[in-house]
């Protein structure tokens, strides 16, 4: 393997690991605010129990997001110097605004949000929670502006191969930005919905009947049931936007080789780039044309349109895009079925008690389904941008650093090892915290004796 592919795998590994945590903290910050406001309105202690449990998950996820994010800012220089040299005039200010307006806001108020409860008036604590949640969302906004600009660049001119900004409004509100931002924020909401419901279902299954568990499960499933249809709609609109601006990506997602009408929606196929065809196709006739062009005879672009004169493909690798798209859609459909069935069962019967055990088991299995869908979606859109790093401006190969392949391989293996261990540790700790909470070990906050206060529990 050469430096280019190793560097791409390394960047992919870093950003995949990183995105796991922001995708939780973005929506979890707002969920925590909701719990706190419910408590302030109702004085029902179980809302506070819910807050106390999930603020720990928030702290852990935030810390992991910060440290894995630092890696990202160095990767640009260590592995992709050509990126900033070519498009630094656009990417630079966007990254700078992310650090200045979002990172410091969230990091500075996080301390007060986590540990400041008894040190500041309640309204200051609530404000800190709002600012942290706002900061995480703002951070997502800036980074998605830059990411969208790389997919659908606008508002710039090229002089000697270097991009110069001409219209910041057009750069920020570039064609794919609103769709991508909506799609990612909704994905964060769904990730948190299934995370909260999944861990609550786990606590219920091991016998925890606390009101906070009931509230968590109900909250998660309602949130999921409300967001998933909106997400499917947003995803569809994002797809149509991609068709307009990056037709090669859509052709790869659909596994469609020739530009034609009556394109089937493939449920299964093995794309073969050598033979430029699919094997073992199973599809619904004309359905892709209906989805993309709203007519069975609608003409959908094919991959063979994106081949250079000398035969070099100028479209993304087909199989990874084709398959990750299907994994994302399948996960989304499972989310729709499970959340609607669960909410329907709870409404029909008497809340959580009415849920069959198998539903609870499915919810536990789907605790991290948001991660799966998010990663699959990222791979679809990011691999789908290849061979471009910035569409039509800069190819990935042009930007890569001239670092020996062996060096990249050694750091790549190091990162992969650490990421695997830490992801396992993270998942393990979440279930460990749930088990502890189920045993009532996380509730020393209603002190019964002086001894209880003296227990040393730093940063629990």
């Amino acid at each position: 393997m050469d430096t280019l592919i190793l560097s791409r795998i390394q960047f992919g590994a870093n950003i995949s690991f990183h995105i796991l945590f922001p995708t939780i903290t973005i929506a979890l910050g707002w969920a925590l605010l909701f719990f706190k406001l419910r408590f302030n309105a109702t004085r029902d202690e179980s809302w506070m129990d819910l807050y106390r449990f999930w603020v720990k998950v928030f702290a852990l996820s935030f810390g992991m997001g910060v440290v894995s994010g630092i890696t990202m800012s160095f990767q640009f220089g260590t592995n992709w110097p050509g990126f900033m040299e070519a498009v630094g005039n656009v990417a630079g200010p966007l990254l700078a605004y992310e650090v200045l307006t979002a990172f410091f806001l969230e990091a500075a108020f996080l301390g007060i949000m986590l540990f400041g409860w008894r040190r500041v008036p309640d309204w200051v604590h609530t404000t800190a929670t709002v600012l942290v949640a706002f900061g995480t969302t703002l951070s997502a906004f800036w980074i998605l502006v830059l990411n969208s600009w790389m997919h659908t660049p606008a508002g710039y001119e090229l002089r000697d191969g270097v991009v110069y900004a001409t219209d910041w409004w057009a750069i920020i509100f570039n064609p794919s930005m609103p769709y991508r931002l909506a799609h990612v924020l909704l994905a964060s909401g769904l990730t948190v919905a299934f995370l909260i419901a999944g861990l609550s279902a786990f606590r219920w299954l091991i016998g925890d009947r606390a009101a906070a568990v009931r509230k968590g499960l109900t909250f998660g499933m309602w949130l999921g049931a409300i967001l998933i249809p909106i997400q499917i709609l947003a995803g569809d609109m994002h797809g149509l936007n991609t068709l307009e601006h990056q037709p090669a990506k859509v052709a790869a997602m659909e596994g469609n080789w020739e530009t034609r009408g009556n394109v089937p929606l493939l449920l299964f196929a093995i794309p073969d780039e050598e033979a430029r065809t699919n094997h073992f196709e199973i599809g619904i006739p004309s359905m892709a044309s209906v989805i993309l062009k709203h007519s069975p005879s609608g003409v959908v672009p094919g991959l063979n349109d994106f081949v250079a004169e000398d035969g070099t493909p100028m479209h993304p690798p087909v199989a990874p895009v084709f398959w990750s798209f299907r994994v994302m859609v399948a996960t989304g459909m499972a989310m729709l079925a499970v959340s609607w069935f669960t909410v329907w069962s709870m409404r029909r019967g008497r809340g959580v008690e009415a849920l069959p055990k198998v539903v609870l088991l499915v919810l536990v299995a789907m605790t991290f389904s948001g991660w799966l869908a998010t990663l699959a979606g990222w791979y679809t859109t990011e691999i789908g941008r290849q061979p471009w790093l910035v569409t039509g401006v800069l190819t990935t190969a042009q930007a890569v650093a001239d670092v020996p392949a062996g060096m990249v391989l050694s750091t790549l293996l190091g990162y992969l090892g650490i990421y695997a261990i830490l992801t396992l540790a993270y998942v393990g700790v979440l279930f460990h915290l749930a088990r502890k909470a189920a045993k009532g070990e996380l509730l020393p906050e209603r002190p019964k004796s002086a001894a209880a206060i003296a227990v040393v529990t730093p940063a629990e």
């Binding site: 506070m48 106390r52 603020v55 852990l60 935030f62 810390g63 910060v66 440290v67 894995s68 630092i70 800012s73 160095f74 220089g77 260590t78 110097p81 900033m84 040299e85 630094g88 005039n89 656009v90 630079g92 200010p93 990254l95 700078a96 605004y97 650090v99 200045l100 307006t101 990172f103 410091f104 990091a107 500075a108 108020f109 301390g111 007060i112 986590l114 540990f115 400041g116 409860w117 008894r118 040190r119 900004a165 001239d402 670092v403 060096m407 750091t411 190091g414 990162y415 650490i418 830490l422 540790a425 700790v429 460990h432 915290l433 906050e445 040393v456 529990t457 730093p458 940063a459 629990e460």
Partner: protein, 341 residues
Amino acid sequence: MLDHLALTFADPGLYLPFVFAGLMGVAILIYVVFDGFDLGVGLLTPLATGAEKDRMIASIGPFWDANETWLVLAVGILLVAFPSAHGAILTALYLPVAMMLTGLILRGVSFELRAKAPAAQKRLWNGAFFLGSLMASLSQGYMLGMYIMGLDSTPFHIAFACLTAVFLTVGYSFIGAAWLILKTEGALQWKAIGWARGGIWGLVLGMGAISAASPLVSDRIWSKWFSFPELLWLAPLPILSGLLLVLLWRSLYALPRTDDRGAMAPFAYGTALFTLAFLGLAYSFYPFVVPEKLTIYEAASAPESLWIILIGTLIVLPMILAYTALAYWVFRGKATDLKYY
């Protein structure tokens, strides 16, 4: 030098790179002092008992996320204002950067996991917390040494960089100990005073080695310091440093006091020393951002883009400083156990 500065401020294409180099310097300095003390606390944890470890980590708990953000800002300014320098420096420092990042990841994660994972794993995560702090400190010191040596990997340069790696690590332990003197009391404060007294030697040797080495490897730096009249108006820098060391020494031997007066002094003097050392380095290397190869004026982005960032920075930086100050004020006084409620 002064003529040169006056000229600089007449032309926006020239003063913008200067301003951004200044901003980057401020961000690096704040990072070195702030994350320096929390890395230092991590380095000192093996010397403490279990309960003391908890208290030490509690003293940095509300701050470390924000402290590390200064590193992102510093490397961010390098990235956005001097993109070609960012590439040149970071590809030259590829392996130490990877080691630092690995260290920072280990550290940040263990910080959370040592308290949240099953109790049986606590020793493991304590170890990872120390190891992460050590990897981050050593690699930052190594990068500093390589940078001073002009980013060329000769055996002599690598040996020098290994030396600065050790010195910076001891320096961080010192500022960490000074932070603990400020934030703790009783037996732990006693211990921290001892650690700070031990760490001072690293500070002296490290600053001495860097001050001696950087003029020796570069004629340009030599002539910037040892020619007339520069020698005269630069003289306060070493004199002040010497004075601060004496004050620091005295303050450490006056502690602890029952009324806890002077507990802030070691940290304040230490910060002042770090600042002076940093100013000296900045003076040596100006106007180069990649030593002897690329000046800040050659490496700077287009002025239009720098303007956009500068406007935002001028509005936002005071706010950042204000809420950073707020966070330190809310958690002022001796560290207590961290509780989420």
